[in-house]
Symmetry: C2
Subunit: 218 residues, 2 copies
DNA sequence: CTAATTATTTAGATTAACCTAACAATTTTA
DNA sequence: TAAAATTGTTAGGTTAATCTAAATAATTAG
């Protein structure tokens, strides 16, 4: 049985090796920074995870998940996203509140619980942030979506997910009346700083490039 | 914030100081045995819990919960029983499966989660084992119920809870068609070993004294 | 292609939660 | 009430997960 901490390392590695289409490895510092620990700490854990055959790793080399490591990580991601969906759909949590609690709930060990929860929620495909939920077989629909910042001026698109999961960002998105499935029309763009003028359900708003880079669209 | 382990010690102390009406203290060995650790380990933790003002304790003396310690312990008990109820009522778990998972879920930290869960479940008063669920104010209806072994021969009673929460016992109870609210008629009793002949919804069964001592009735 | 910079590992500590073995206090029993 | 039994504590370790400081490898830049 994996410890809470080991699970977090695997989850972090899954995240870091899926950041963009061709990224399949991570570095020690990158991992340590992501987890909020010192590189020396990460090195110790990497040795242990290698020992347990959960990762591929050689001293001074890059890190990637093994097949079993990836399986484990996806299980945790599945639990995380199912719990977020539960909190959002059944317990009236807002989308900026669910992540923190799911960080704890994802470590509950009980295969029966996960599958019953999935059933109870009606086998949802995406979580409250628009992220795809791995199914019971451990299959994850991974699609690398375009961001709002890449949309051509004058065209329309639909928001399908968010990239940033911090409460601050999510609350701001909500305040702008943006949510999953909202149609966005790009009216204009400032060459100077990349900020964009948008039309959302009748009202015009202005957003920064940084903001637009965290809205995923289709 | 209390650790997982500290929470388990407090919960154990709450249990041990509520075993019967006049029991308000526990001993080091008793506590250690209940938690499955060595007495030396318990002594260490007792010092820490005393330091944090969660218990009353003097070297070589008896242990009892402080007001804050009791509050904390009841919060955990509340979570435990609400989660058991959730698993049983919403996720189709059987009553012998819920405890193990609730042992993990009870340590999730989120005041909002507990209260939303309570609301979602319709503010249940008892868990699947008939145990009273503390309310949001931390009030616990504690009633010391009679056991089936104390019922007079020839009279009837109603099962309201079970004392033993092990899967083996609960499965056996189910197999005998006994559940919360079942009416039990005591037909006869063996002087020799205290075993009892019961009438349950039309069929006669024989149970041991040990068994009868773990069925709570009214 | 060396020197500077960056990335990573090693060495040596710390803390929480556990253990065993030995010792000390308390309670029971004869 | 003294010996025996029980209960509880202390001393000294271990392991997992963390840290800081120092050393080393790899990469980048001039
Ligand atoms: Mn999340
Ligand atoms: Mn999410
Ligand atoms: Mn239980
Ligand atoms: Mn229960």
């Amino acid at each position: 049985m994996l410890s809470f901490t080991e699970e977090n390392y695997l989850k972090a590695l899954l995240h870091l090796t899926m950041e963009f289409e061709d990224k399949v490895e991570a570095g020690t510092n990158e991992l340590a920074f992501y987890l909020g620990v010192k590189p020396a700490t990460a090195t110790d854990m990497l040795k242990k995870l290698k020992e347990k055959k959960l990762i591929q790793y050689e001293k001074y080399g890059k890190i990637s998940l093994s097949e079993t490591g990836r399986k484990k990580a996806i299980e945790i991601l599945r639990k995380h996203r199912l719990w977020e969906t539960f909190l959002y759909e059944k317990l009236e949590f807002t989308w900026d509140e669910v992540h923190e609690v799911a960080e704890q709930l994802e470590h509950i060990h009980s295969p029966k619980l996960v599958d019953k929860l999935d059933k109870f929620l009606g086998y949802p495909e995406v979580d409250p942030h628009g992220d795809s939920i791995p199914n019971a077989k451990g299959e994850l629909k991974q699609s690398f979506k375009k961001t709002l910042s890449e949309v051509e001026t004058g065209t329309s698109c639909k928001m399908v997910a968010v990239k940033d999961n911090t409460a601050a960002f999510l609350q701001y998105v909500s305040k702008l009346n943006l949510r999953i499935d909202t149609t966005i029309q790009v009216l204009s763009r400032q060459d100077y700083d990349g900020s964009m003028e948008l039309l959302i359900s009748g009202s015009k708003i202005m957003v920064s490039q940084k903001f637009a880079e965290n809205i995923l669209i289709v």
